[in-house]
Symmetry: C2
Subunit: 137 residues, 2 copies
């Protein structure tokens, strides 16, 4: 829990690793080595929809989402980005940014619910966290 | 084609109906009566990612997406909005805004690729277009 009482939902915390805290959002790496996949989680308690955010927070959160998109594009050179705020499984506001390739295991479908996730191995995780933390900072 | 040479991708045109033209985006109703589902299509030729848009267009397009979210929430009172820029099937930039319910046919999964779409019947389409066009204007 941070000073404002905000806490990452346990289901998000259990399936992802912390990357970087931006001024308004925590960025986390989803533990699925099949896809470069980052969550943007605004640190606002009880936020569910992006349009729930107060305007002075909605705007910079949008800038932070775009920042993550640019970094994922620069680092991974995907064929396509997938950017989505769904929240059907975990209601706490979080935005998926995923780098997609025509030869990835879910293409051309969305990634959610496609096959089994593939947790990172220790080395893969360490190098991915290092790479992305530096780039997203 | 409009005066700038912009044209809706045929696959998007064939599976949706025109609702409203906002200053930067065309709004279209997806022809699937299972879900209240609107596409936001910025009228920018060759745009693929939201971050491709020039900053002076990115910002108002974001405002238009949020506007659609608010109207869908006001009109349909969904349990959750799903907002996504995917583009794996059709590369032309388009953003999905979908009103979701815990008893809809895809819940809690995303809607894409779930079962068969259910085209509107004539009366259902006319009334949905009338309702949404007035609200989104």
């Amino acid at each position: 829990m941070d000073a404002t009482g905000f806490e990452i939902h346990p289901q998000l915390a259990q399936t992802s690793y912390p990357l970087v805290s931006l001024p308004y959002s925590d960025l986390r790496l989803v533990d699925d080595a099949r896809f470069p996949w980052v969550l943007v989680i605004p640190r606002i308690s009880n936020a569910v929809e992006l349009i729930d955010l107060p305007p002075e927070i909605r705007t910079p959160v949008g800038v932070e989402i775009d920042h993550v998109c640019r970094i994922l594009r620069d680092v991974f050179a995907p064929y396509k980005l997938n950017v989505a705020a769904l929240g059907n499984q975990v209601r706490q506001l979080h935005v998926h940014v995923i780098a997609r390739y025509v030869d990835d295991p879910a293409w051309p479908n969305p990634v959610w619910g496609m096959g089994q996730s593939m947790p990172y191995d220790e080395d893969g995780l360490a190098s991915r966290l290092r790479l992305l933390s530096a780039a997203l900072q």
